[in-house]
């Protein structure tokens, strides 16, 4: 390129440079656009997205009962809370590791929906089945490192840093929800 500068006058040079820059820019744009399909191909595909939301019929879950449903490959705990569970969740003490009111964690007080994965190191806490250890606060107990969750899924004791995650969900009818 430098050789050309020497044997041509400046005016000609400008026009030529413009052409080369325009061509290069155009080629670079097309090249960049061609990369997009390859990036996009790594995003969740349509069949994966189709499984991304799960509808659950709550009608069969009696008061005091819990069920586990699978959502995006993770367990989700749905508990039909009793009156005492609701009232005990409603009055948390001060100084929780991750303070949150029960009202912020449920859409309807009777129904608690949380992702059943301990926020410490990813174990699945106990407490879903009758007779399982529910920990000191009547919620869930993680056997891996001894984290205790209350009836709102909040961490009360043990090494876990945060409350059990509440997934995005909505009530479709009074007795059915869609998670995700």
């Amino acid at each position: 390129m430098t050789e050309q500068v020497q044997d041509h006058d400046g005016h000609d040079e400008d026009r030529r440079d413009f052409l080369y820059i325009a061509t290069g820019a155009f080629a670079a744009t097309i090249g960049a656009a061609a990369i997009w399909p390859f990036i996009d191909a790594w995003n969740p595909s349509a069949d994966v997205l189709a499984q991304a939301s799960t509808e659950v019929d709550l009608g069969a879950i009696e008061e005091g009962q819990s069920v586990t449903v699978v959502w995006r490959g993770k367990p989700v705990f749905i508990r039909h809370r009793t009156g005492t569970e609701i009232s005990s969740a409603d009055e948390p003490p001060d100084g929780l590791p991750d303070p949150q009111s029960d009202g912020d964690r449920v859409l309807k007080p009777e129904w608690l929906v949380v992702v059943g994965i301990c926020t410490h190191l990813g174990c699945v806490p106990l407490g879903q089945k009758v007779g399982e250890n529910r920990g000191e606060f009547g919620g869930w107990f993680c056997p891996c490192h001894g984290s205790h969750y209350d009836t709102s899924g909040r961490i009360r004791k043990g090494p876990a840093p945060r409350n059990l995650e509440v997934p995005e969900y909505a009530f479709l009818t009074d007795t059915s929800i869609r998670i995700g």
Binding site: Q4, H8, Y20, T23, F26, A27, I30, D47, E55
Partner: protein, 259 residues
């Protein structure tokens, strides 16, 4: 690279070769050539006609699906023919799907969901054959791609019943004569008759109309990416033509001082 004489030679070779192609057309198989129809999705601008696809799906769902599967289609894919989420849910919920195992290890029945695959009429190949006199109704997802004439072929077979076979041709007992089918003898009984389905949009359900609609629907089922493919193609080709033009100008500029 080549002189005039040589080009003439190639031309001569092409002329010699052309009757060979003609000879082949008459010879290839004995099934009758399907009539060429016009489809909305023909050509480089062609797109699907949503109303036609929905009518076609209606025919498929009511008639064809009793024997034929649509393996690569899930209910959720039907958004591609313009159905709304609620319509798809309702259609999916019409079928009972076996799911499981539940907590007791048993399989159970539940209404279908949009993410379920389109229903299979039979549990397995043996059951399908047993129900159809030994013949296996083929999967139809890719039928329009698997036949050279595409949707024309599907339409031709569906409307090709009722002719009297040639006098020397014997149709096997229990099967039908259909000159568009490769052996002329088809195990599928004539599937469509006047008003076999009732169209929601009030279109008259003639055999020809239903055949066209379901053929268009199967063309969509084989190639749901067709519209996006063509739309993307226009942009891509346009940009590439401009790029080629710019590169040509650059090349001319660059080489100008050498000449």
């Amino acid at each position: 690279m080549l002189g005039r004489l040589q080009i003439a030679f190639v031309g001569l070779a092409a002329m010699v070769a052309s009757p060979m192609v003609g000879a082949m057309a008459a010879e290839a198989g004995k099934a009758r050539e399907p009539t060429e129809l016009e489809w909305s999705f023909d050509g480089i601008f062609g797109q699907f006609d949503r109303a036609e696809l929905q009518r076609g799906f209606h025919v498929f769902n009511q008639v064809c699906a009793n024997c034929h599967s649509l393996e690569h289609i899930a209910y959720r894919h039907l958004s591609g023919i313009g159905l709304s989420e609620d319509e798809i849910k309702a259609i999916a919920a019409e079928v009972e799907v076996t799911d499981g195992p539940d907590e007791f290890g048993d399989n159970f029945q539940r209404p279908g969901r949009p993410s379920d695959p389109y229903r299979h009429p039979f549990d397995n190949e043996q059951q399908a054959r047993a129900a159809n006199g030994g013949a296996l109704p083929p999967d139809l997802t890719l039928i329009t791609k698997a036949r050279p004439a595409g949707p024309d072929y599907v339409h031709a077979v569906l409307t090709g019943y009722g002719e009297a076979p040639p006098s020397e041709f014997e149709v096997t007992e229990g099967k039908d004569y259909n000159p568009y089918f490769k052996t002329w003898t088809i195990a599928m009984a004539e599937p469509l008759f006047e008003d076999a389905v009732e169209y929601a949009d009030g279109t008259e359900a003639s055999v020809d109309q239903m055949s066209r609609d379901v053929s268009a629907f199967l063309a969509w089922a084989a190639e749901p990416e067709l519209e996006r493919r063509k739309q993307t193609g226009f942009v891509v080709v346009a940009f590439l033509i401009i790029l080629a033009g710019l590169l040509y100008a650059s090349k001319r500029q660059m080489w100008a001082k050498l000449h």
